[in-house]
Amino acid sequence: MTESPLLETVNLVKRFPLPRSISEFVGGRPARSIHAVDGVSLTIAAGETLGLIGESGSGKTTLGWALARLHETTEGAVRFEGEEVTQFSGSRLRRWRSRIQIVFQDPVGSLDPRLRVWQIVGEPIRVQAELRRRDALAGRRRVTRANRAIRRENVGNTRLGKPLQPLLPLPEVPPRLGRAELRARVRSILPTVGLPLESLDQYPHEFSGGGRQRISLARALSVDPKLVILDEPTSALDVSVQAQILNRLVELQRERGIAFLLITHNVAAVRYVADRVAVLYLGQLLEVGEVRAVLERPIHPYTKALLAALPTPDPARRRIRYRLTGDIPTLIDPPPGCRFAPRCPFVQPACRVADPPLRPAAGASGHLVAGVRAEEVGALPPEVLLQDARGPSTAGPDAPAGEGGPAPVS
């Protein structure tokens, strides 16, 4: 990847401060916060699909919202086509929004029940058209002002017998987008997501879950974005309808070269749609790589556990799983070190010292992994992984000592 990526985040952090209780306030203790996204660095190239997988509470949705500037980020940078978007504001921000769109998780809550489909899908078009018109009007005002100054100067110039300065041409202002034109624009979008033209004047409640998801998708595509963030686009759908939507996504990408960030806990959907996969756990990336590499040869123990927990639709292959014990721990001011350490069967003292940085995995190009002993664990035979106990970590402490632990984190 030599060309600059479409979107790049550097050490993105999003914390939600918790209200301080009176005793904390009086006691002078610092405010606590929820570390929803904690130092995420990732890239999305133009026209590719990055699948972001993780359990609920891992910060997937927060990350997606932060990328679309629906959350203000606490620290770190988000660069879109080389521009730092965390500093955008006003009309610059609103114009940028036509390049990044989001399909929200809840297809019921994210569609206004009182608007018809053409109004819902047409809203981004209308907003962007108004923005362009407003910018054009502002430009024309600037030109008019400049021309006024030129005319004044020209009065002096005629007296002095100097040649006249030409007036600047007035820029074109796009006409207001009329209802008929907006409807026509929406009509041309509906077939691309597989909605019938009759649905133009229907309300969201008249659609099934799959239909609503198509409306959401049409709305996101209406302004020709470069990147669409899909937040659990199929989690509310049945497999039959899910397959329709996933096929449509892949076709759209092929036709238009849109990049997708597919946020989901549905590994099967990621396998089918994504080019690369990032695994998020408690706000930190644990593994990033090509979809086949990550799903077929995972390195990080968490990825292995997550994939092993997937039920396989084949009754002949029921098996004992490599089970994760315990639930996801709290995100309120978590201790330093690998977030996965409390659940990891292979935990080492070094894991609890500092956050393991995402680093290229040994022997696999383009495959990034966080974790002290990741490769070593990845190389273990599956029987060892199937053991539920923490046996392997205590039984084999000889190897990691030789590796000298992780490089100190800056």
Binding site: D238, V241, P311, P315
Partner: protein, 382 residues
């Protein structure tokens, strides 16, 4: 084979809506043998949940109404049981696990009290203080003594005095005994340090925890049939794996019979022994789970199985089923699946398919049934 725990015979359930009646479950028959797990799959709106709730008669009547059929549970037809007797069947007879544990646990009651209530009711039924369900032609045991005052129940053990009906009567459990039993059930669902969560409210627990509490609650009444309606759909895969493993272990330990509703074929493949597939209110295929997965005999089942994304995009598009589940108020003529079916021909548009008929048998002699005009041609589909 022993008598099945439950046998549903030609059950139809209607909903009264503004424009008339809608048949959500249409002529469904299935049996659940003792110790077996029967899975039901189908898309949203196929009547899976209506079936699950109709069996313990949990549907609000009206708008729902059991139009016809029998629900024979341990020899008693539940359709004929008057509404005020139904609570006796539920709990100790049929236990339920719902999809969203946060909505089905009482948010204002601590974990301990919710579980203790279930334990107490069972113990009272066993002790003959509450009427209980025993199945058969005379299903209800009314030879109970009235409920003692709460102080009496909680402070000292009550020894039944006066005339006692036949059968062994147990003394009432004391407070510590109930607590011990609650802890036992929490440990049974693999909750570590159950003491620490007894005083918590449901919202303070994670989703997996809540679902385990639901399961503990259902099990603590020792039901002979457990109905699980999408019990793992709201959970993350790692937690889902824990809950499924737990349920599998419990099936082996408690020899429970389970009706397991899900839309996830992966989950069904893990847990079920038999599999029923529902479409638009009807059962279209029923058979041993391995058999249905290996050689489906209904195009709908095959379509669902083929739609599961198990490939990369470089491998070509997924086989989606075109269209969507029909509105039950406007069902197509003939076979309900014909507008989406690749095998559909004239007869499918006109004639409804035959009732669920055996189309094959496994090596063990278990029938594999399908309701399709052309069950033999399903295997030949591309």
């Amino acid at each position: 084979m022993t008598e099945p725990v439950l046998s549903v015979e030609h059950l139809s359930v209607d909903y009264q809506i503004a424009t008339g009646l809608v048949r959500a479950v249409d002529d469904v028959s299935l049996t659940i043998p003792t110790g077996r797990v029967v899975g039901i799959v189908g898309e949203t709106g196929c009547g899976k949940s209506t079936l699950a709730q109709a069996i313990p008669r949990l549907l609000p009547e009206p708008p729902a109404r059991i139009a016809s059929g029998r629900i024979v549970f341990r020899g008693t037809d539940l359709v004929g049981v008057p509404a005020r007797r139904l609570p006796m069947v539920r709990g100790t007879g049929i236990g339920m696990i719902f999809q969203e544990p946060l909505n089905s646990l009482n948010p204002a009651i601590r974990v301990y009290d919710q579980l203790a209530e279930a334990v107490l009711i069972r113990r009272w039924r066993e002790a003959g203080i509450l009427p209980s369900f025993r199945g058969g032609p005379e299903p209800f045991d009314y030879s109970h003594r009235p409920l003692p005052r709460p102080s009496e129940v909680l402070s000292k053990p009550v020894v039944p005095s006066g005339p006692v009906a036949e059968g062994p009567r147990r003394r009432l459990p004391g407070r510590s005994e109930v607590r011990k039993e609650v802890l036992e059930f929490l440990r049974l669902v693999r909750i570590q340090d159950p003491e620490t969560i007894l005083d918590r409210y449901p919202h303070e627990l994670s989703g997996g925890m809540r679902q385990r509490i639901m399961i503990a609650m259902a099990l603590s009444e020792r039901p002979s049939l457990l109905i699980a309606d999408e019990p793992t759909s709201a959970l993350d895969v790692t937690i889902q794996a824990q809950v499924l493993t737990l349920m599998k272990e419990l099936i082996d330990e408690a020899h429970a019979s389970i009706l397991f509703i899900s839309h996830d074929f992966g989950v069904i493949a893990e847990i079920a022994d038999d599999l029923g597939v529902m479409y638009a209110g009807r059962l279209v295929e029923l058979g041993p789970v391995a058999e249905v997965f290996r050689s489906p005999r209904h195009p709908y089942t095959r379509g669902l199985l083929r739609a599961i994304p198990e490939r990369y995009k470089s491998d070509g598009p997924l086989a989606a089923i075109p269209g969507s589940v029909p509105n039950l108020a406007r069902l197509p003529t003939g076979c309900r699946y014909h507008p989406r079916c690749p095998l559909a021909r004239e007869v499918c548009r006109v004639d409804p398919p035959p009732d669920l008929a055996p189309v094959g048998r496994t090596a063990e002699g278990q029938p594999h049934r399908s309701a399709c005009h052309f069950p033999e041609e399903v295997a030949g589909l591309p």
